[in-house]
């Protein structure tokens, strides 16, 4: 029996399957993919900013126990180059395309989107509010009002679905999720990385050029899953779960917690086939357990405890 693993993330946005690369962890291009990108539920781009950003000074990476600290700092070719050089290459894949948008001011997100509206082949935008705000140096993703303002401007710039990506570096993820819902988000994606750092004991200085970096990978999975669980209970729009997903069982945890789709980031680095394995693994799990569609298991662990 064929199972249905497609998922509707917003009206008019139905992905063929619920598995996507996490922004900034997947390279599209000739000769870099271990499998055809068309197999993905969607392609999510690295976050694009209005003007080119160089990113942070190296070193940018440091492995920790079951985790990866990165201080890449969202380098971006900028809107113009993305539109002219990257987008045409991306459109040729036969799957949905989600463009991740970054900005450092309340207006920048809408500006990037405005610059892409004439382009066909973009299924949705994912708004990455984790960069520091030019105004006060604090990321939008920890300031509900400011984030909502930036989102409302983006909302006015496009009729395409908007996915808001949330940061885990907050006291109450529900507050941020609800601000995003109010601001017009069609779906949420969480979590981005958890801020951390490492010190080189021999050189007696921070390992990363930027001192702080974002922690990703299996280490943060319990945190991500908890925040997805909390968010699903607090909003009524679909939630995309990510953070430390390394295999099918991890992905299933997020669906059972109530996520409608998932993204895979750090796990791609060691296993470029992992997303394909998870797509197949989800279908197998549903079949083996006699479910006919993915949505049958979404949130099932929530009902278990309500009984």
């Amino acid at each position: 029996m064929q199972v249905d693993i497609s998922v509707e993330l917003a009206s008019g946005l139905r992905l063929k399957n619920p598995v996507m690369p996490a922004s900034g962890t997947y390279e599209y291009g000739d000769n870099v993919n271990a499998f055809d990108p068309a197999e993905l539920g969607a392609i999510v781009t690295k976050s694009i900013s209005l003007v080119p950003w160089p990113g942070n000074a190296p070193p940018r990476l440091c492995e920790t126990s079951s985790g990866l600290l990165n201080a890449v700092g969202i380098p971006s070719e900028g809107l113009k180059s993305f539109r002219e050089n990257t987008l045409p290459r991306l459109k040729k894949y036969n799957t949905d395309l989600i463009v991740s948008v970054a900005g450092k001011s309340v207006t920048e997100f809408a500006q990037v989107i405005a610059g892409l509206e004439a382009e066909e082949g973009i299924s949705a935008y994912e708004l990455n509010f984790s960069c520091p705000n030019l105004g006060n140096g604090i990321p939008f993703a920890t300031q509900p009002q400011l984030m909502q303002q930036a989102l409302e401007q983006a909302r006015q710039a496009t009729a395409r679905p908007l996915i808001v990506k949330l940061s885990p570096n907050v006291t109450d993820i529900k507050v941020m999720a609800q601000a995003a819902e109010k601001g017009g988000a069609d779906a949420l994606a969480l979590i981005n990385t958890v801020t951390g750092m490492a010190i080189d004991v021999e050189r007696r200085r921070p390992v990363l050029g930027n001192i702080f970096g974002g922690l990703s990978g299996p280490a943060i999975k319990p945190i991500a899953l908890r925040m997805v669980w909390e968010t699903v209970g607090a909003v009524s729009i679909p939630v995309i779960g990510l953070g430390g997903i390394n295999n099918t069982a991890d992905a299933l945890e997020f669906f059972l917690a109530g996520a409608s789709a998932i993204q895979v980031g750090t796990a791609n680095f060691a296993n470029p086939l992992v997303m394909l394995e998870i797509i197949k693994g989800i279908a197998n799990y549903l079949q083996e357990n006699k479910f006919t569609k993915l949505t049958d298991i979404v949130g099932l662990a929530r009902t278990a405890i309500e009984e």
Binding site: E27, V32, A34, P58, L61, E63, L68, V72, A270, P272
Partner: protein
């Protein structure tokens, strides 16, 4: 990009904490060129989540094998050293740009310590093309001069300097290269790896001796294929003034010495 498994054929200790690993992996062996590298994972422990980059020490397409010369530095390389023939490793590659050799003439290779690793594949290919190869190797002590016997097979000369044993007066390889060039020998291209000091020392020598020099850089990597943007080095902005970040994995690992900003 190839993501595949390879079987360990041989694991040989070449010095204390240094190993030569031979892996059967015909697909990568038939595609790779000198200067390229692979991302290798040789463990199942879930706390080490990233594969590690290793240069190809020798590329053996006919045997369908790759050789990696490595030093035990941390947890990942310690795990590697525990693997035995028959064990499988995961490989992503061949990655990076590799080197471009001149059509004829001579090249020099300057390697410090484990920096000798990528130079062997270059020496072998250069010799096969009929180029003259001059190899300069240095290390803290004699036993850490790696692969000198292999290099001898492909080189006109192998010149060694060691700190502890004062071989060749512990002199810098760049000085020893200058000595050679002063003998009237000329080289067209120089490749170096393993020492910032050597690479920087080559910059002014280029115009003086009429060669072009390249360095093989190392940076901590996550993906090895240009996806994570984590492995950048600083490169002088074209046109001068400022610095741009280039990915070692995709734009390198081979860079002209005069473009690198240290």
């Amino acid at each position: 990009m190839i993501f595949t498994k390879g079987k360990i054929v041989e694991q040989k200790a070449v010095a204390n904490g240094y190993y030569l690993l031979s892996i059967a992996q015909p697909d990568i062996a038939s595609k790779a060129i000198p200067g390229q590298f692979v991302m290798l994972k040789a463990w199942e422990r879930g706390d080490l989540i990233l594969p590690r980059p290793f240069s190809l020490y020798r590329i053996l397409p006919r045997q369908g094998q790759l050789q990696i010369l490595y030093k035990v530095r941390g947890k990942g390389t310690a795990e590697m050293a525990r693997r035995v023939p028959g064990d499988e490793v995961e490989l992503i590659g061949p990655s990076g740009n590799g080197v471009t050799l001149p059509a004829k003439g001579a090249i020099a290779l300057l390697g410090r310590g484990i920096g000798a690793a990528p130079l062997m594949a270059i020496a072998e290919e250069a010799a096969a093309k009929g180029l003259a190869v001059y190899t300069f190797l240095s290390a803290r002590k004699r036993e850490l001069v790696l692969g000198d016997e292999d290099f001898a097979r492909y080189s006109r000369r192998v010149i060694v300097a060691t700190d502890a044993d004062q071989e060749n007066g512990s002199r810098l390889l760049t000085d020893l290269l200058a000595d050679l060039l002063s003998e009237g020998i000329s080289v067209d291209r120089v490749f170096t790896c393993g020492s910032k000091r050597l690479a920087r020392g080559l910059v002014p020598m280029q115009s003086q001796y009429g060669f072009k020099a390249y360095v093989l850089l190392e940076e901590v990597m996550a993906c090895g294929i240009g996806a994570c943007k984590g492995c950048v080095c600083k490169i002088a902005a074209p046109g001068g003034g400022g610095v741009v970040y280039k990915k070692v994995c995709q734009d390198g690992p081979v860079f002209p010495v005069d473009e690198v900003v240290w």
